[in-house]
Symmetry: C2
């Protein structure tokens, strides 16, 4: 049949899709407050304007000293130092450090000028009021965090191209950077197509009707990838309507997702409607993956377009694998992306055909990964799973007891 041969002709492997399908569009920058910045992707490296911690501070509770005044000190022959004062937290040192003297400092406290070491309080004791014994020598630099030890002015505090983590936020807060320029969230249009589809909140179904399960669930994956799903839209199996909806959706969208109808005819319609967009390149129509073969990847004016298979399970498998990285890239994420995984032993053989990647849902039970089988249309195979195992393109399945990587859903 025409559709089958077309799919076959332009089929690609998942690895090729992940490495080579790279539409250039990126979202515009916007400025957000530090409170809203976690998970957002900076458009450029953010440079430290000052040093951290910003002043020489004590790493311990103890006494600021000149290190040489402690040389040779021991339990039997302690060094005797005059206590010249003390430093309060959050305040300038406010005292001098004459030779043969010591100034009490808390952890994090500022150090008097000339201090080159801090001796821990544990290695001191009060000999008489105003004088301490030091029973261990300290080396120059010991017990001190230098003013630029955490970061020097002009160096990158955080890098562009990856979402900000909690400790990046901490670094920016410490530097007093409270506004951050980040990529705006990718706006993602999701079109669900099919005469059989009705919105989930609609009245009781008529025979033959099916509720749209993909708009909200693909939308959830879009959000998890840092994107913003636009209002979902259901389009009937009509070439003209689909073309119009696609063209309208392309306006202001950073990624376009079409959940295709499930019949062969509906899949052709998707490809035709995509091809009718301006400056379109169909990158592949057909992917060497099970489930998920009838996947289409394309771009229009540099904006990525993902045509998902008609059945919800296949669509969700493909979107998690390919759609999530595509949305992330549109939102400026250029750094390597990892998928959370764990390792388990397969409880039984996994048959597979060479030449395609198989995604097999599994339950994690103790040290075992138990494959869940079922028709590709069944959502219950996904909801019963803890994660999935990948049977690579070049394997004829995987044997029982093999240790496999389980990619986890949560």
């Amino acid at each position: 049949m025409a559709a089958t041969s077309r799919e076959f002709f332009t089929a690609k492997s998942v690895a090729e899709a992940l490495s080579d399908f790279r539409p250039p569009h990126r979202t515009a920058p916007e400025t957000v407050s530090l409170e809203e910045a976690a998970g957002r992707v900076p458009v450029a490296d953010i440079i430290a304007g000052e040093a951290l911690p910003g002043f020489d501070r004590s790493a311990v509770d103890g006494y600021a000293v000149h290190a040489q005044d402690t040389f040779g000190a021991s339990e039997s022959v302690p060094a005797y130092l005059t206590v010249a004062g003390s430093v309060a937290m959050g305040a300038p040192a406010g005292v001098d450090l004459p030779d043969q003297s010591a100034v009490a400092v808390p952890t994090g406290g500022a150090l008097p000028a000339g201090t080159d070491a801090v001796v821990m309080v544990e290695y001191t004791q009060e000999a008489m009021p105003g004088t301490i014994e030091v029973v261990r020598p300290v080396a120059p630099g010991e017990g001190i965090v230098r003013a630029d030890e955490d970061i020097t002015p002009g160096s990158a505090a955080v890098r562009a191209g990856a979402p900000l983590l909690a400790h990046d936020i901490a670094m920016l807060a410490a530097l007093g950077i409270t506004q951050v320029e980040v990529h705006s969230r990718p706006q993602v249009t999701i079109l669900a197509t099919g005469d059989e589809l009705v919105a989930p909140g609609a009245a009781p179904l008529a025979p033959g009707q099916v509720r749209d399960a993909l708009s909200s669930s693909v939308g959830a994956l879009v959000r998890a990838a840092g994107g913003q799903p636009r209002s979902p839209q259901i389009v009937g199996d009509d070439p003209g309507l689909l073309r119009d909806a696609l063209r309208a959706g392309a306006q202001g969208s950073d990624v376009l997702v079409i959940c295709a109808g499930s019949s062969v005819g509906a899949r052709d319609q998707t490809a035709d409607a995509v091809a009718a967009l301006p400056n379109t390149q169909i990158w592949c129509h057909g992917l060497a993956i099970k489930p998920g073969k009838p996947t289409l990847l394309a771009s229009s004016n540099g904006i990525p377009i993902i045509g998902l298979p008609g059945n919800p399970r296949s669509a969700l498998v493909v979107f998690r694998l390919l759609g999530v990285p595509i949305v992330r890239r549109a939102g400026g994420w250029t750094a390597e992306q990892h998928m959370p995984s764990t390792r388990r032993r397969l409880s039984r053989d996994l048959p597979s055909a060479a030449g395609r990647m198989d995604v097999v849902q599994v339950r994690v039970a103790g040290e075992q990964a138990e494959p869940i089988f079922g028709p590709s249309a069944l959502l219950s195979v996904l909801t019963a799973a803890d994660g999935y195992v990948i049977v690579p393109d070049d394997a004829n399945g995987l044997p029982a007891d093999e240790t496999v990587e389980v990619f986890l859903y949560r």
Copy 2:
């Protein structure tokens, strides 16, 4: 010193803290729309009120038949069937299936009453107008998804106790469930204490002052754990002020976090202020972990309280390891929690003392994990890392070239 002995006296291992520190408080339920439900935790199993797909539907593009009419069919001796009509997507079958006949159906289409198999279009051809040849027999049940094959009425569509995933949302949408009762987001009060602290957006620092790096970064981890940080508060090193702030914070909070001052005296103040809350149990003061030893875990009226170490790096290490699961549990997450990880070879020896867990930041470089060392106060050790390696309590370090689990930050 008093503080040291008290910490030592009630120190626990991280494993004990993860398994045994279980304050009973949980957030109240609230109802959210399906669009907002991803990542939220249902308060109870959600039961399917109907079957899915809800009607017998075709799994393929083809012809609905009585299977016995195709028995014995082959390329050389095809079965001839009269085409009695066709089914449109989204509509009732609307035609009967007499003996020795076939009805054209698209993938997902409803089946005429009496259909017990669907033969794929690939195994048919038109013999003459109104008649097809079937060149392969089909078994009863073949090509059909039965009305309750995905889910039966009365069974659990999704389970309580774990956040809803994209495919859970798909299942609920397919069932027409558009409102979900979930645990409300844990409200988390974060108190940063220390005379040296100022808000990140404050004017240029005076000598000795430090910007509060923890409120916003711990807040980011709270959000990632499904919680809602309340407005951050900075409290000076004053026992009365801290007690008042804690008591006020406990009102309406589901988790209390205190970022302790960094000196020994400040740590004692935290413990004293926590002990002064109503119905308080101090579960541990001191944790066998590096960095992060001066961690306090307690509860007041069943609400968990986490006293974090004074320095930001230690505090973030501990909150990621212990605080995140505590916030999740307060929000109803009772299912097992996995941490995303990958496996790499250590580039060098990791020294460690037995009797405590060490958390060592690493860079992932190709197949290697390269440890990053530095004083525990330095945030740059975290911002330079891709993840961390755990040296277990009972190990005296880990040797170079050992394959280790790297827990990934992103």
